[in-house]
């Protein structure tokens, strides 16, 4: 019972900052001495669904970019994480540091060079260019998460599956991936949210032609329409919440956790 109360309290504290946002999105003017707005409206929420605010377009583009970036980060991160987590080889420490560099070094320092390359490749201002540049912060997180997942993975499961007649591909799809699924979900969650919220890289590489939700939000903020901005901000949190709910179910699966060794 006390556990439940505590849980509700934590949730309350965490979600409290969103309350003003919610009020703003329904307010028709909310000025200083007022505790609550005097007039309410749904105009801001209706505006989100009109083409002129470009929220729908931004939502779809953000979704496409984040999904692609997450998938590509997984394709790179799974083998890289396995090598870093399970194998010993010279230069392993240096490679781990090298992986962290994109997180340590400010993107402002590297963006000029990247932009130069992308322009020559004709990828500047394209969706693909933005996806590629989003791999910069997502791959390190993905690889580091997966390397610690693999470090706890008992390779005997793979040997056991092989002797029972599973080919290497079957071992990967039927044994290894199901067993490391919680770690994959965590890594994918990180990558998706990093890409979803990315502003600076999209701003530079997208050159204003790729319009993700953070870009739409920023434009609206500059426009000075607080109510609309609040509504867009809340919209941009939704996928994170959905993803979190979905993944918390995958993470609380005892069978899958068991595959991570004696956790």
């Amino acid at each position: 019972m006390t556990r439940k109360v505590l849980l509700l309290l934590i949730i309350g504290v965490l979600f409290l900052p969103f309350l003003p946002l919610l009020i703003w999105s329904f307010a028709q003017g909310w000025y200083f001495p007022q505790l609550l707005p005097e007039q309410w409206t749904v105009a801001n929420w209706q505006a989100i669904f009109t083409a002129s605010t470009k929220v729908g377009q931004g939502f779809v583009q953000s979704l496409a970019i984040a999904s692609l970036a997450t998938t590509l980060a997984l394709v790179v991160g799974l083998p890289a994480g396995r090598a870093l987590g399970l194998m010993e080889f010279p230069g392993k420490g240096a490679i781990k540091l090298f992986l962290l560099l994109p997180i340590i070094v400010s993107p402002l320092a590297t963006l000029m060079g990247i932009q130069f390359v992308l322009i020559r490749l004709g990828l500047s201002g394209t969706l693909l260019g933005v996806v590629l540049v989003h791999l910069l912060p997502t791959i390190p997180y993905m690889t580091l998460v997966l390397s610690s997942v693999y470090a706890n993975f008992d390779l005997s499961y793979e040997a056991q599956a092989r002797t029972l007649g599973a080919s290497p591909m079957q071992v990967l799809s039927q044994v290894t991936l199901p067993l490391i699924a919680p770690g994959v979900v965590v890594g994918a969650l990180f990558a998706f949210l990093i890409s979803w919220n990315e502003f600076l890289l999209t701003f530079f590489v997208g050159s204003g032609r790729v319009l993700t939700l953070p870009m739409v939000l920023f434009t609206s903020l500059q426009g000075g329409n607080t109510g609309l901005t609040a509504a867009i901000a809340i919209t941009s949190i939704l996928p994170a919440l959905v993803f979190l709910l979905f993944s918390s179910r995958a993470l609380s699966d005892d069978a899958a956790i068991g595959g991570l060794g004696d956790v």
Partner: protein, 364 residues
């Protein structure tokens, strides 16, 4: 049992960082045989098993099954199943799905998969367990599921790596009986790795004894007890009595007197051993030969036997295991009879045996 050479290991060698874990191993295993690979931990027996399973690649030598060279056959196409110490059930699959795993990988139809899975769960006495999760099983149950999972694919060879070492002592006996029965029912050729000589004796037709990556003796359990090839084998098989003696053909001169042996005639300094249960203790000097006068120093009752420590006037120490009905007082003098056919002598007077914890020598 049919002829030897069903599964054949020739000149098998595996090195880890230059150190041989398995060294020039030759072994022929017959179809339908239960063979134990026995030895102290780190002797290379598990490595040998992984080489047979195909998890490791040998540096030298050949593995053949029914005359077919296996060296470059991947593990999933060897038709050799492996059961590991922990059972290692896949935690994301139910018991039934675990057992059916190998069949699913082979593309066996759903109906046949279910039928064969249920039949094998019956055989390992786990009827009705197919919907349980691995986490709900006890250690013994998990190990039985692992056995069923390996047998359901009808392997040509079943490899067991210390399958019972994680189980309680009283459960181990039941599992030994179950494994023997399953092997007899299926006729599968079986190789068991164990460090427990009692388990090896109960489980196998033949025992292959390994020390330091080398095969020392391959024999029936009776043979290993009665005809150890050297002092270290005798030591590993529970030998406790080791003496240095001077041999002149069949006559051995010990510190306590002269005895005769029916072992090979030898000359010079030799190592002599006799199993403690072979020594008879007599109150009077009945017959003349192979009798040593001794004093009883210790008397321990173990339930089925009495373990006596004896000493000759010249300081030779002996252990004898006698029936519990014979009670000897400490300090009592008696005569120890060492039967000629139970005395074994080995030419090299070395340290009795490589102790279990001796680190592997780094050979150049």
């Amino acid at each position: 049992m049919s002829e030897l050479g069903y599964l054949s290991l020739q000149q098998l060698t595996k090195r880890f960082r230059g150190v041989p874990a398995v060294n020039d191993l030759w072994l022929e295993i017959a179809a339908g045989e239960r063979l134990s690979l026995l030895g102290p931990s780190g002797c290379g027996k598990s490595t040998t098993l992984q080489l047979i399973a195909g998890i490791l690649r040998p540096d030298q030598g050949q593995i053949t099954l029914q005359g077919r060279l296996l060296n470059h056959v991947p593990p999933e196409r060897r038709e050799i199943a492996l059961v590991l110490q922990k059972g290692l059930l896949f935690p994301h699959l139910s018991v039934g799905e675990n057992v059916a795993f190998g069949l699913k990988m082979r593309g066996v139809s759903r109906a046949e998969r279910e039928a064969r899975t249920l039949a094998l769960l019956d055989q390992v006495q786990l009827t009705g367990f197919e919907d349980r999760q691995p986490a709900e099983l006890s250690g013994g149950q998990a190990q039985r599921v692992a056995l069923a999972r390996s047998l359901v694919i009808r392997p040509k060879v079943l490899l067991l790596d210390e399958p019972l070492s994680a189980l309680d002592a009283n459960l181990r006996g039941d599992m030994q009986a179950l494994i023997r029965r399953l092997q007899e029912e299926t006729g599968v050729t079986m190789v068991i790795v164990t460090h427990d000589q009692g388990e090896a004796v109960v489980m196998s037709h033949r025992i292959a004894l390994m020390f330091d990556g080398c095969l020392r003796q391959v024999e029936t359990p009776e043979g290993l007890y009665q005809r150890p090839s050297d002092a270290s084998v005798a030591h590993f098989f529970g030998g406790v009595n080791f003496f240095t003696a001077t041999a002149d053909n069949h006559r051995l001169t010990l510190a306590g007197g002269d005895v005769l042996t029916t072992d090979f005639p030898q000359q010079g300094t030799v190592q002599v051993t006799i199993r403690p249960e072979c020594i008879h203790l007599l109150a009077d000097q009945i017959c003349g030969t192979n009798l040593l006068p001794v004093t009883v120093c210790q008397n321990r009752f173990t339930g089925t036997q009495r373990h006596l420590n004896l000493q000759t006037p010249a300081g030779l120490e002996l252990q004898a295991w006698v029936p519990p009905s014979q009670n000897w007082a400490i300090g009592q003098t008696a005569f120890a009879h060492l039967p000629p056919d139970a005395l074994w002598s080995f030419p090299t007077p070395t340290v009795p045996a490589p102790q279990q914890s001796v680190p592997k020598a780094l050979s150049p």
